[in-house]
Structure formats: C-alpha cells, structure tokens
C-alpha cells in the first residue's frame, strides 16, 4: 500500500510560496558550510546544557537531542486558524475541570460517562468543591498536533499538567538567530521570545484574592536530578522568579513561605513542575520528600495558587481525550476547530473487536503511557509483535486505545545525504490565566529516521525551529 504524505515545502515538484526563501537558502548552502553550522549548533546546545529528554520520556538525560537547522514554516492564515482552535480547546478543557470538580453538569447531561471521570486515578477527591483562582486549572496547555493535508490538522493529545519542552522552542529560535541572522532580516518571522514574560504574567494573574500588591511567583522543581531541570532553571531565569525545591518552602499561619537570606518571604503563586502525588505528604503520598507538608491545606483555604491546579490531570487522560470535542460543544456551544484523531476504546467490546481485527493498520497506545513507550505502530510491526500486543490488549483492554495510522506531513530536513522529507508534529503552549495567550510558534519535533512516524526523542526524534510568517 502506498500512502502519500503531505509535504509542507513541495507541492509535487514546485516549491510552495511559503518556503520559497528557505528553499533558496538551502540550495545556496554548500555541504561543507552546512556541516560546520550543524557542528556549531550542537556545540551551542551542549554549552548551554540543554540535553534533557523532551516530555520526560526517559532515556539518557545527557544525550543531545538532534537539532535540525531547517525551520518549519506556517503562514499567518494557517496560524490564525490553529490559534483559534488551540485557544478554544484550552478554554473547553478548563471549563471541563471546573465542572467535574463542581456540579458535574456534563456527566449529568450524559455526555461523558461518570466512571471515566470519577473512577479516574487523576481525579482528586481532595479538591472537589474547590474553585481555583480565576477558575483556571490548567495554566499551560500543551496541545500536540499533527498535519495530514493543507487544511487538515489533528490533535494527538492534550497536556494539561506541566507540559515540558518550551525551552526547546525558545532555544531553537535563539540559536537560529545567532547562527543565521540574515535569515531573520530577510524574512518577517513572528517572535516567540515573549513567552517567559507572558507565562509570568499569566501566573501572576491567578494569585489568590487575598494577595495584595505584586504577587510573588516561584517555580517548584523536584531538583537537579529531574530530566527537565534545565528547563525549570531556564524559565525561572528568564521570568525573573525564584527556582525552589520543596525544602525551600514551608507552611505557617495559613500561608506558604520561602526561606531567603533576608528571612521568610510570602509566596503567592507556585508554578510547580512536580506531580500531584509529590506535592504534599500530608495530602498525597506520605513518603514524598519533594513537596511541602501542609501546602494543600493552604491552597484549599485560598492562601496560595498552584499551577497547574492539583487534579488537572483528569482532563488529559487518553480515554477522556475522546470526549474533548463534546466538551467544546457542551461548554462553548461551538463546533471544534481542530479535530480529534478517531479513537477506539479497547474497553468497549465493539471497538475492541475492530482493533483486534485491524491491528496491522492501527497505532495502539496505553491510556496512561507517554513518550512512545508501550505503543504498537501496526504497519511497522512484525506479525509476532502484533500477536503479542493482541494478547496484552485482551488481558487488560481498559488500558489501551487505538487510532488509525495518520499520514503525518513531512518537512524538509537536513540529513546526511542532503535535504530530505521527514515526518513532523507540533506542540504549541497555550497560556491560560485572566487572559488566554499563545505565542506564534511551538515546538516542532521531527522523526529523523527515514520513514519513521515516531517523533519522540527517545525513538530518534529531533527538534527544529518553527516560524510563523508575519503578513
């Protein structure tokens, strides 16, 4: 079976207008210069220390993720539509979270099964009935998108907790601008560097009502052994806020305090990059040493804001994902601008039958899995692998969902033999506070292995700069 893929640069033999300048640029670059620049880029990445695995995929934390110097380009028209779709989705996901921790109208209306929400491990009983400041649960929504045609974008998954990778978006741009300043003079590229300031403003906007004056924002990290520690310190630096670990904070008289050389300082907003389970040993996992004892009591009494709000994970579960278009209709009264990938739930007998009969054509994922592990890509698997996976599905059907193999678009990429099309995806980072904001860009991941559809860095994926051209 021959599948045709949408090539974002070439329409048949002709270069799309959008890429005209870049095409000329790649053509005019001698192989030697390209190799030199490639080495320079790697050197820069290594020097700044950005070697962590994207999205906590595990793997060697010191391994450099390949950087592809050939940028991906979106037109203003394409981006505006994506932007509307992403913001729409971020609004609906937050409305869903407020609802399921409140009255549960969407469940009463029969639009989503109760057990998917209330029986979900990510549903936190501890925060039911609690309304976070400004009614926001997910303050940074990372939405993973793939493209299959000129107008066809699909949402692969939503990330409502603490999506990582935004430092790559910023560093990719920074390094491109440093190495190829002429490119940025000759093309009108929308800037992304406002992201850290927008993030800071978003976080400050959800400070609890009792906070008077300028809110104190901190980033709470599990520590330097965490694979995304670089990103935590990078963001703290650019935002001009403190990077803290659990023991740097303490709870007293109904507030959260940070130890400083000038004595305790009140903390109003915590951008936490640690999971719910580790936030507070008095409320969640008692053995956790990473969190702050008593934090959840202060939070629930309105003394501090936690971003993302504990419990936000119930919105980005892969089984709940199926219902996001329904959320958009239910809460916003709108039709989804961005489509979901059709998804079969192996927990449903009819769906399961279809999945087991068509494993060779499908991609099967674990409901709670991430990073491309525990995943079957049917068309790329052997009969034995498929048979083994079928057994796993029969054994624990509720743990799996399946989707058609999408014909992911390709972008030209620099490879050993020159320039060749490689499959890509996109993660933009939508900020939700008093306002909803999105910088024009995101992180493009590229499957650098020829023919591969898996863009995860643990499986040979790389990253590239993502341009949105100004009008």
């Amino acid at each position: 079976m021959t599948v045709s893929y949408f090539n974002e640069m070439y329409d048949g033999g002709a270069v799309r207008d959008l890429y005209a300048a870049l095409e000329g640029w790649t053509r005019s670059m001698p192989a030697e210069l390209r190799q030199m620049k490639q080495a320079e880029a790697e050197d820069l990445f290594r020097r700044i220390g950005i070697t962590f695995a994207v999205y906590g995929e595990g793997g060697d934390p010191d391994r450099l993720i390949p950087f592809d110097m050939l940028p991906r380009v979106f037109s203003q028209t394409e981006w505006r539509r994506l932007e509307r779709g992403i913001k729409q989705r971020a609004r609906a996901l937050n409305a869903f979270l407020v609802d399921v921790y409140g009255r549960g109208e969407i469940i009463r209306a029969g639009r989503i099964p109760a057990h998917l929400v209330y029986g979900n491990e990510a549903y936190e009983k501890a925060v039911t009935g609690f309304m976070p400041p400004k009614g926001v649960y997910s303050h940074v929504v990372g939405i993973d998108l793939v493209r299959t045609g000129p107008e066809d974008f699909f949402v692969l998954e939503d990330n409502c907790r603490t999506p990582s990778g935004v430092s790559y978006m910023l560093e990719n741009r920074e390094i491109m601008m440093r190495m190829f300043p002429a490119l940025f003079r000759e093309n009108r590229i929308e800037p992304v560097e406002a992201y850290p300031e927008l993030l800071r403003r978003t976080l400050a906007s959800v400070a609890p009502a009792r906070c008077d004056g300028e809110p104190t924002v901190v980033i709470l990290t599990p520590g330097h052994f965490n694979s995304a520690y670089y990103e935590h310190s990078f963001l703290a630096d650019l935002m001009g806020v403190e990077l803290v670990e659990g023991p740097d904070l303490f709870v007293e008289s109904g507030l959260v305090w940070m130890r400083t050389t000038e004595g305790p300082k009140r903390v109003d907003v915590i951008y936490r990059r640690i999971d719910d389970a580790f936030l507070d040993p008095l409320c969640f996992r008692p053995e956790s040493m990473l969190g702050v004892p008593g934090l959840m009591d202060v939070y629930r009494a309105g003394g501090v804001a936690i971003c993302s709000a504990p419990g936000a994970g119930v919105a980005d579960d892969k089984a709940v994902y199926t219902y996001v278009p329904e959320m958009i209709r239910f809460y916003l009264g709108e039709e989804p601008i961005l489509q979901n990938v059709p998804t079969w739930q192996c927990a449903r007998p009819d769906d399961r039958g279809h999945v087991l009969d068509n494993l060779g054509d499908l991609v099967v994922k674990e409901v709670h899995g991430s990073g491309g592990y525990g995943m079957l890509v049917g068309p790329k698997s052997t009969k034995a692998q498929i048979a083994a996976f079928a057994d796993q599905i029969r054994e624990n059907p509720g743990n799996y969902i399946a989707q058609p193999t999408l014909a992911l678009s390709t972008c030209p990429s620099f490879v050993a033999e020159g320039v060749a099309p490689r499959h890509v995806d996109l993660r933009p980072y939508c900020l939700v506070g008093e306002k909803i904001e999105l910088v024009p860009g995101g992180l493009t991941r590229v499957a650098l292995t020829e023919g591969s559809l898996v863009v995860n860095s643990s499986q040979g994926g790389g990253v590239k700069d993502t341009w949105v051209l100004a009008e």
């Binding site: 921790y101 209330y118 039911t128 009935g129 609690f130 709870v251 109904g254 008095l282 009494a301």
Partner: protein
Amino acid sequence: MKLSVSHHTTYRYDSPIRVAVQSLRITPSVFDGQSILDWEIAVEGGQKGAGFRDGAGDWIESWSLRGPADHVTVTVNGTVETTDLSGLLRGHREAVNPGVYLRDTPATRADAALSALARAVEATEPLARAHALSAAVADAIAYRPGATEAHTTAAEALALGEGVCQDHAHALIGAARVLGLPARYASGYLFASEDGSPHEAAHAWAEIRIEGLGWVGFDPANRCCPDDRYVRVGSGYDAHDAAPIRGIARGLGVERLEVTVAVQQAQQ
C-alpha cells in the same frame, strides 16, 4: 443526647524535633443528626494555620509548631448534641460525587474471599443488602483488640477472622464496592454505655451510599447503625484517608504516641 468529648494525643520524641506540621480532621460533622455546642482544638506551643471545609464536608484545620520540641500535644475538648437518625447522614453538605467512592485502596481491596463474602449476600433490595453485608462482616471478623495493626488490610483481617472497628469498616467498604455500592470510611467517637458493648471511644465505621436514602452508616463492630451515641467526625476512602490527625515532624527523634479519649454524657 448531649455528649462531651475529650481527646488528647501526644507524640513524644527521644530527641527534639525542629518543626512539625499537622492537618487535623478532628471537628464533628454538621448534619441533621448532629450539632456542635462547643468545640476547641489546641496544639501546645503551636500556631493555627488554614481552616476550611473540604468537598466531603469535613472541617480541616492546619497547625504548625516550631521546635525545638520533645513532644507535640493535640488537645480536643467539646460538646455535641446528637439525634438518632438510624444511621442516615441527612442534611450533610458535601460536593464529592458518590462515584468517587467506588475506588479501591490497598486497605479496602477485596480479595477472592472478601468478594465471595459479598456475593453470597442474597438480599437484593439495596438497604437490606447493605444490612446483610454488615452482618456478614461482623460474623466473619470477631472483635478482638490487639489482633490486628494499623496497616492490616481488609483481606488480611478477614483471613485472620479477628480485628477491631477499623478492620470491620475496611472489610465492609471492600465488600460493598464489590457489589458496585459506593462506600467509605467514617471516623468519630462512640459513647459506650455500660451495656457490655465493646469500648472504643475513638471509633470508626462504614458508610454505604443507598439510592434514595443517601449515605447510611453501618457499624459491623457493634452490629448496628450509628445512633445518638455516635459522633461523626470525618470520612475518606479508608482509615488512612480519613485519619483525624496527619502530621509530619522534622527531626531525628523516634516517635512514641500516647492517646486518651473520653466520651461522656454531658451534664444537663
């Protein structure tokens, strides 16, 4: 009935602690069968922090204490007016959807034996079924203080055939969830009169959600539903989740716990 409660908990450390933080779920619930006349919580040398009512309707209060200290004492004194509602938790304000209480925890998870016990119950009408489950648990687990420990699971207590109120409650919760009935752990106090019923002034039982009635308490340990001798304090998935005192102390000391609880009929 007017009941007065006096509850002292002391954590002693063999070397001083630097700091302690506590989350106390130790204030009586408010519902049609119960009202608070007076209630006072004090942590010796401590500072009161956040206080709020959570989604389950429980009042939670935080305290912190700066060391060095060789002990932490939590003192609770109060009076509660109770009415016998035959176990019904009528008029209790809470936001948690009952479906949440279908979730298992390690302490309540049913093994084959507990599932079999649940499935052997013949009654089909929900309330009769819950009563039968409670009776079956009481029959299967004899009351014997000291037979089990704080970490004993429902399945372990059932295998042992002995336990205390915590084990009875865990087993009943696990059994109810097997039958698809939302169930939870309730902690509180019991006024044990001199009629020979087991004396456990700090007490626990199970609540089962019955369609049309709401939450109903069942106490297998005493083969009854909570009445006006019971003071309900808090709830959770299991004993750990419903714990009246959750605390953490930073220091190197080894902790020793002393608890005294007295529940008396208040003078008119």
